[in-house]
C-alpha cells in the first residue's frame, strides 16, 4: 500500500513530466493527452486524474522523447501516468471505507484480486459439492435443461444477480466519484455530440494508433498488435455479453432452455467471443511481458496480467464446457466456469477492469473540452503560443 509520501512523489513526478511535455508538445500528434494538456497552463490534481486516464499507454511518446532516460530530465510520461492512473482506481473505489486501504500495485494487489475471485469460486463450488450428489455431478446430462439439473436456475440467477448488482453499483459509484474528481466540466459543452465522439474513440481505440503508423508496442518499431489484441478482447467480452443476453431472452421469453445447439445464436456468439478473449488476453500478456521495459512500471505488470489471466480462464472454461458438455466432465466444468465468471464479476470494482469505464469518462471529458474549444480553433492563440515553432 503506498504511503502518503509515495502518493505525493508519484503525483509530483507526473506533474513535472506533464509540465515539460506542455512546453515541448512534440508528441502532439500521437494522442489526445497532448491536446488536452496544451489547453492548460498548469496541471492541477484534477488534471492529473483526467490526463492519466486519457493515456492509453501506447508508449509512442516515450520512444520519441528526447528527454527519456538517460537524459538529465529523466522523463517517462507513460510510466508516470500509469502510476497515477493506478492510484485513481483506488482513490475512488467503493465503498469509500476501502479507499486508501487497498493496495494499488504489485503482488498485494494481485493477492486481493485472487482472493476475491477464489471466494466467488468457493461460493459456487462448496455448496454445489455439498448439495449435489456425486453421481449427478459426474454424470452425463443431455438435452434442454441439462445445466439446471445440476445447478438450479434460481441459484444461478439469484447468486449471480446479487453479486453482479453489487459489482455494477460499486463500479458506478467509483466512476461517478472519478468523474467529479476531474474538476468542473467546461460550461455549456454539448454532451450528446461529445458522447458520440467518445464512443467512437473508445470503440476504435483511435488513440492507440500513434497518429497513423501504429504504436511502440514492443520497442522503437511501430506495430498495431496491441490495438488488435485489445480489440479482440474488448469485442470478445461484448460478444459474450450478447450471448448471455440472447440466452436470457430464449429462456424467459421463449422457454427454450440451455444448452443450445452448436448452430444457435448464443453458442455462436459465445464461441466467437470466447475465442476473441483467448486471443486478446494471450496477445496482450505476451506483449506486456516482452515489451521494452523502459516505459513500463514493473509494479503494475503483475496486477495487469492477473486480470488478463482471470479473463483467459473464464474463456477457456467456457469453451471447454462447450466442447465437453456431452461428457461426464460437464458437471465440474460448469461449476468452474460459473465460479470464474462470478469471480470476474466480483473483482470488477477492485481490479484493473476499472480502466475501461475511467478511460471512457476521460475520453468523454476530452471530447467535451474539444467541442467546447472548437469555435476558437483557427483564430490563432496569439503570438506567444509556446512551442509553436521549431528551433
Amino acid at each position: 500500500m503506498p504511503g502518503a509520501d509515495e502518493t505525493q512523489r508519484i503525483a509530483a513526478d507526473a506533474r513535472r513530466a506533464l509540465d515539460i511535455c506542455n512546453a515541448c508538445q512534440f508528441c502532439g500528434g500521437y494522442c489526445a493527452v497532448f491536446r488536452a494538456l496544451k489547453a492548460r497552463r498548469q496541471v492541477s490534481a484534477a488534471d492529473l486524474a483526467f490526463l492519466s486516464n486519457l493515456c492509453h499507454n501506447c508508449r509512442s511518446c516515450y520512444h520519441a522523447c528526447q528527454y527519456a532516460p538517460p537524459h538529465a530530465f529523466d522523463l517517462n510520461l507513460p510510466k508516470s501516468l500509469s502510476l497515477v492512473r493506478q492510484q485513481t482506481y483506488r482513490d475512488h473505489v467503493w465503498p469509500p471505507w476501502f479507499r486508501g486501504r487497498l493496495p494499488c500495485a504489485g503482488w498485494p494487489a494481485v493477492a486481493v484480486m485472487v482472493a476475491i475471485a477464489l471466494s466467488a469460486l468457493m461460493l459456487v463450488g462448496l455448496p454445489a459439492l455439498i448439495l449435489i450428489p456425486p453421481d449427478l455431478l459426474f454424470g452425463r446430462h443431455l438435452g434442454p435443461g441439462a445445466f439446471y439439473r445440476l445447478v438450479p436456475w434460481e441459484a444461478i440467477a439469484g447468486g449471480a444477480g446479487a453479486l453482479t448488482l453489487w459489482s455494477l453499483l460499486a463500479v458506478g459509484f467509483s466512476v461517478a466519484s472519478f468523474w467529479h474528481s476531474m474538476g468542473p466540466m467546461p460550461a455549456g459543452a454539448a454532451l450528446l455530440p461529445a458522447l458520440r465522439d467518445a464512443l467512437y474513440d473508445a470503440a476504435s481505440l483511435r488513440n492507440l494508433g500513434g497518429g497513423g503508423a501504429g504504436c511502440n508496442d514492443r520497442d522503437e518499431r511501430f506495430s498495431r498488435s496491441r490495438r488488435r489484441f485489445h480489440h479482440a478482447l474488448f469485442y470478445g467480452v461484448v460478444l459474450c455479453f450478447a450471448a448471455t443476453a440472447v440466452a436470457t431472452v430464449y429462456d424467459h421469453a421463449l422457454a427454450w432452455q440451455a444448452p443450445y445447439p452448436v448452430l444457435s445464436l448464443p453458442v455462436l456468439l459465445g464461441g466467437l467471443g470466447g475465442t476473441g478473449i483467448l486471443v486478446g488476453t494471450m496477445g496482450l500478456a505476451r506483449l506486456k511481458l516482452r515489451a521494452d521495459p523502459g516505459p513500463l512500471a514493473p509494479s503494475l505488470t503483475a496486477s495487469d496480467c492477473a486480470l488478463l489471466a482471470l479473463l483467459f480462464l473464464v474463456a477457456v472454461s467456457g469453451l471447454g464446457l462447450l466442447a465437453l458438455r456431452e461428457t461426464a466432465a460437464m458437471g465440474p466444468l460448469l461449476l468452474v466456469h460459473l465460479g470464474l465468471v462470478l469471480g470476474w464479476f466480483a473483482t470488477l470494482p477492485y481490479s484493473k477492469f476499472l480502466h475501461a469505464p475511467f478511460r471512457f469518462a476521460a475520453l468523454l471529458r476530452a471530447a467535451m473540452e474539444r467541442r467546447h474549444r472548437a469555435p476558437q480553433v483557427g483564430r490563432g492563440q496569439g503570438k506567444s503560443g509556446r512551442g509553436s515553432s521549431g528551433a
Binding site: A23, F26, C27, H63, P70, S384, G387, A391
Partner: protein, 452 residues
C-alpha cells in the same frame, strides 16, 4: 600503436540528420557504408533529436504543408538572414527542398498531416510526427535495414586527408579506418568550450548548449587545417534565451524562456539594458539570446509581477518569488536598491498606450507596471543552438579549398556546410532542410566517387 581497419566505400562521420540522409543515400546508390556516431545509442542523432520541423518550398498545398511557399518567398526569407550566401547553391537548395519530405517519408519518417489542427498554422514548414527523435529513430531503422554499418560511441579524433588519402582515427585504443569517400556531417563546434572561449571570451563559459555535447567540431577543424575554405563566421552563433537553470547540454526546446517580453529584463547589476517590447513575435527568443550574451557574465533576469506572470506559460523550472522587489533582488543576488530604482523608474514612465516615455532604454510595447505582489523572476542565460562556421562546398557537396579545388573524395553535409546557404544567420526550419538536401547529395556523390 594504431591499427588500420577495414576499408569501406563511404565513411560517414556524424550521426545526426545530415549524416543519416547521407548514409541512406550512399547505401541506396550501391556503396558499402559505415557511419560513425560519437554519441551512445540512447543519445544518438545530434541536434536533430531536438528539432521539430523543416522548411520546404512548395507551389501548392501538399499532404503535409498548407498553402504554398514559392521559391521566390524562400529566397527572400533567406536573403534577409544571409546576405553573403552563395547564390548558386541557394538556388539548388531551395529547388531541392521541395523533394525532401517525400524522400524522408520514403525512408520511414512520418510527418503531421498539413491540416492537423494540433499544430500552429504554417505554410512554410512540415512537422515531424513525434518530433526530431522520432525522425532520428526512423532514419536509423532504415539505414540498418539497408545494411549501413553503424557504430555508436565512436568519436573521430583525427582525419587523415594528406595526399589524397581518406582515413579517420576512432576510439581508444585508436583504430584507423580508410574509406574510398568520406562524408563529414559532424555539426558545429558549440560543445567545445575552449574553441568557444577563443571566439567569445570568458562569457562562453556561461553559455548553455541546447543540443548534443558531441558537437565539438573535431572534423570541422581537421578540414580547415587541410586547407578547406571557411564560410560563415567563427564568432557567430545561433542562440536563444533559456532558463538559467537549464542543464549544460541537451536541454532542447523546453528550456526556452517564454514571456520575458511581458515584464522587464535586468542584468545582474539590476539595470535594464534593452527594449523588451522591440521584438514580440517568434523571433523574440533569438533576439534575447544575443542581448543576454552581451551582458556581464552573460546572465540576466526576467522580472514580472503577479498579474504579468499570468500572461505567459511558466518556465519548466520553479519561479523565484518574493513579496517585495527588494526581497526578490536579494534572492537573485542583485543589490536591492538598484532593482527597486529600476522598477520604480520603469513604472513611472509608463503611459496609457502600453509604452514608456523618457526612459532609457524604452519599452515600446506591452509595458505595464510591475506593482502587484507576489513578484516573480527567472534567471536568463544564453542557449546556443549551433555555431556558424563551416567549409565551402560546391553543388555536389564536395569540400573546396581556398584555391577552388576540391578535397578529393571528401564531402560535407549539414551544419558543417550550412553557412554556404545561411551565412552567419539562421532561418527557422531551414537547418534540417540543409541537412537533408545536402546529406542526400553528399551520400549519392560519395557513392559515385567510391565506386568509380
Amino acid at each position: 600503436m594504431t591499427r588500420v581497419s577495414c576499408d569501406c566505400d563511404v565513411l560517414v562521420v556524424g550521426g545526426g540528420n545530415a549524416a543519416l540522409c547521407a548514409a541512406i543515400a550512399a547505401r541506396r546508390a550501391g556503396a558499402s557504408v559505415l557511419l560513425l556516431e560519437a554519441a551512445p545509442k540512447a543519445l544518438r542523432g545530434g541536434n536533430a533529436r531536438h528539432s521539430r520541423n523543416m522548411r520546404i518550398m512548395h507551389d501548392a498545398p501538399t499532404a503535409w504543408v498548407r498553402g504554398c511557399y514559392p521559391a521566390e518567398d524562400y529566397h527572400a526569407d533567406l536573403r534577409r538572414v544571409a546576405e553573403a550566401a552563395d547564390e548558386g547553391l541557394t538556388g539548388l537548395f531551395v529547388d531541392a527542398s521541395a523533394g525532401v519530405v517525400d524522400w524522408l517519408s520514403g525512408n520511414g519518417v512520418r510527418f503531421h498531416g498539413g491540416t492537423d489542427e494540433v499544430l500552429p498554422y504554417s505554410r512554410k514548414t512540415a512537422f515531424f510526427l513525434g518530433g526530431g527523435k522520432a525522425l532520428v529513430n526512423a532514419l536509423y531503422a532504415t539505414a540498418e535495414r539497408l545494411g549501413v554499418a553503424i557504430r555508436y560511441d565512436s568519436t573521430v579524433h583525427a582525419m587523415h586527408l594528406r595526399d589524397g588519402s581518406r582515413a579517420v582515427t576512432v576510439g581508444t585504443p585508436p583504430v584507423t579506418i580508410r574509406a574510398r569517400a568520406l562524408v563529414v556531417a559532424s555539426g558545429g563546434f558549440q560543445a567545445d568550450r575552449d574553441w568557444m572561449r577563443r571566439q567569445w571570451g570568458g562569457v562562453a563559459d556561461c553559455f548553455t548548449i541546447r543540443g548534443t555535447p558531441h558537437a565539438t567540431g573535431i572534423p570541422l577543424k581537421a578540414l580547415l587545417e587541410e586547407g578547406a575554405e571557411p564560410v560563415g563566421a567563427a564568432d557567430r552563433c545561433h542562440m536563444v534565451a533559456v532558463d538559467g537553470r537549464s542543464p549544460p547540454f541537451d536541454g532542447g526546446i523546453v528550456t526556452r524562456l517564454d514571456g520575458i517580453v511581458h515584464g522587464i529584463v535586468v542584468d545582474r547589476d539590476g539595470w535594464r539594458f534593452a527594449d523588451e517590447g522591440a521584438v514580440v513575435g517568434s523571433r523574440r527568443y533569438t533576439a534575447w539570446g544575443e542581448l543576454v550574451a552581451g551582458c556581464p557574465g552573460a546572465v540576466a533576469f526576467s522580472i514580472f509581477d503577479g498579474v504579468i506572470g499570468e500572461r505567459f506559460r511558466p518556465s519548466i523550472f520553479p519561479v523565484v518569488r518574493a513579496d517585495s522587489i527588494g526581497a526578490l533582488a536579494s534572492t537573485l543576488g542583485i543589490a536591492p536598491p538598484a532593482l527597486e530604482a529600476t522598477v520604480a523608474a520603469f513604472n513611472a514612465a509608463i503611459t496609457d498606450g502600453g509604452a514608456t516615455v523618457g526612459l532609457h532604454p524604452p519599452k515600446t510595447q506591452l509595458a505595464v507596471p510591475i506593482a502587484l505582489p507576489p513578484f516573480g523572476a527567472y534567471p536568463v542565460r544564453v542557449g546556443v543552438t549551433s555555431t556558424c562556421l563551416g567549409v565551402r562546398v560546391d553543388g555536389r557537396a564536395r569540400v573546396l579549398r581556398k584555391d577552388g579545388m576540391e578535397v578529393e573524395g571528401v564531402y560535407a553535409a549539414g551544419v558543417v556546410m550550412a553557412p554556404n546557404i545561411l551565412g552567419s544567420g539562421y532561418l527557422a526550419g531551414s537547418a534540417m532542410t540543409v541537412g537533408a538536401v545536402f546529406g542526400r547529395i553528399a551520400g549519392r556523390e560519395a557513392a559515385v566517387h567510391a565506386r568509380r
